[in-house]
């Protein structure tokens, strides 16, 4: 028996609501591939989102993000919470391929019924996440997971997109990555609600903790939530309990009122991103159908014009959208 496309989609969405893993997996793929049904799926599941606590984990490559995510998820499971994980690794800008290896550190979680893990390639999206990461988190949220952990690519200083997805952002660092000057720099050092110096069993871990604390104390803004700095060792398990307590503290702080502001800001960001995507796509699609597009490309190639002037000329011709 063949189901109509719409009925099939409805079945998938119902599956997501039941927490069916095949349905979750399929819908994430549809969204990731930007298939025509993607938007319908988001529309159907969106009303059921907004319940889960989303934790963003970021930090440089090799700091121990995936290993710490495993420890965190295990501890959450001990506390009877269900967990969804989206782990992002980079796509090659040269071949479009990706090697997604975060699961190597999460082997014990793969057969836990209360955990769903999805590896995701950036597909060249900038900012440390994939374009589909946020929507994948929405799907896991709609499927009833209590906590969702989003792990970014091994991030550099300026990859900060995780704050648009997470309620609680955790920056994972390791000893020996840099001195107190590195800690004052902009970008990643500004986004952590919690900073974790992992590999706390190594020498210089305490020095790293005090460098970060000192840098954070220079903050002139009077923040309601002062970022906290912790030391963990994913290897020995030291500090994991305190890590979870601190996440809970941040969650409690958000619930006292900051969450509303956070959600409002996020809702607007989501709207801006959606408008940007739609406007850009439709304008480009329109322009491409005209002969001027190829002519403009040729003229840029021949250095007869520059890309900005060509864009101005093309957009001027375009009739205003109603």
């Amino acid at each position: 028996m063949f189901l109509s496309r719409a009925a099939e989609l409805q079945k998938l969405v119902q599956g997501v609501f039941r927490g069916d893993k095949r349905a979750i997996a399929r819908t994430i793929t549809i969204i990731e591939n930007n298939e025509p049904e993607a938007q319908k799926i988001i529309s159907s599941i969106y009303p059921r989102t907004g319940k889960a606590h989303i934790i963003g984990i970021t930090g440089p490559p090799g700091a121990g993000k995936s290993t710490l995510v495993e420890k965190l998820a295990k501890e959450l499971r001990n506390r009877k919470k269900t967990v969804g994980i989206v782990a992002v690794d980079p796509t090659s800008p040269f071949t479009g391929g990706a090697f997604l290896g975060d699961r190597v550190r999460m082997q014990d979680l793969s057969v836990d019924e209360g955990v769903y893990i999805r590896s995701m390639a950036t597909r060249s999206h900038p900012g440390g996440l994939a374009r589909a990461t946020k929507d994948a988190a929405h799907i896991l949220d709609a499927s009833g997971k209590d906590t969702i952990i989003v792990e970014t690519v091994g991030a550099g200083q300026s990859e900060v997109e995780v704050i648009k997805v997470a309620h609680t952002t955790v920056v994972i660092l390791a000893p020996g990555l840099g001195d107190d000057i590195q800690a004052i720099k902009a970008g990643q050092m500004e986004i952590g609600d919690i900073f974790v110096v992992n590999k706390g069993d190594r020498e210089n871990a305490d020095k790293a903790v005090s460098d970060i604390r000192a840098a954070l104390e220079l903050d002139t803004e009077d923040k309601e939530w002062k970022p906290m700095v912790l030391k963990t060792s994913a290897l020995t398990g030291e500090g994991i309990g305190e890590f979870i307590e601190t996440i809970e503290k941040h969650r409690a702080y958000l619930r006292k009122g900051a969450l509303d502001a956070h959600r409002r800001a996020n809702a607007e960001i989501e709207l801006i991103e959606a408008v940007k995507q739609k406007v850009t796509e439709s304008i480009i699609q329109d322009l491409r159908q005209k002969g001027e597009w190829i002519k403009a490309t040729e003229r840029i190639l021949a250095r007869e014009t520059d890309p900005y002037s060509a864009a101005d000329a093309l957009l001027k011709q375009k009739p205003k959208q109603s």
Partner: protein, 134 residues
């Protein structure tokens, strides 16, 4: 939303108690370089872990690499679990140390192809590109 961004997703898995994964890593790297998204899970995976990962990651392909000789016990279990989880359209191939005389039995349980040592990686890449339904 108009631009489709379809990619072939492959799980490269090491069932059983092998002590090294050089071959699996070579395959994973070659498929990555061919533009595929390769999920690698590391050594010593149980059939349940492999099937469950294939399900959650919604892969198009599962590659099983085995050196220990345990394929006659482990592979049927993996195939059964994949079927049970509804992953019937996934292309499963195998590699590693698998004697020629075992190949027909493996194909009978649904393993599409067996690639032995010395297979040039472009052969594998072409095979997968052809086998995965678009």
């Amino acid at each position: 939303m108009s631009t489709k961004e379809r990619k072939i997703r492959v799980l490269v898995a090491k069932p059983g108690l092998d002590s090294h994964d050089r071959g699996a890593k070579i395959v994973a790297r070659a498929l990555r370089d061919a533009g595929m998204e390769v999920i690698y899970t590391g050594l010593r995976q149980t059939p349940e872990q492999i099937a469950e990962t294939a399900l959650q990651e919604d892969v198009d392909v599962v590659g099983l690499s085995i050196l220990s000789g345990a394929h006659p016990t482990l592979f049927p279990k993996i195939m059964q679990l994949l079927k049970k989880k509804g992953m019937t359209d996934v292309v499963v191939f195998a590699g590693g140390i698998i004697p020629q005389e075992d190949v027909p039995a493996l194909k009978k349980i649904g393993i599409k192809e067996v690639f032995g040592p010395g297979t040039p990686t472009p052969v594998l890449v072409e095979y997968l590109k052809k086998s995965v339904r678009k």
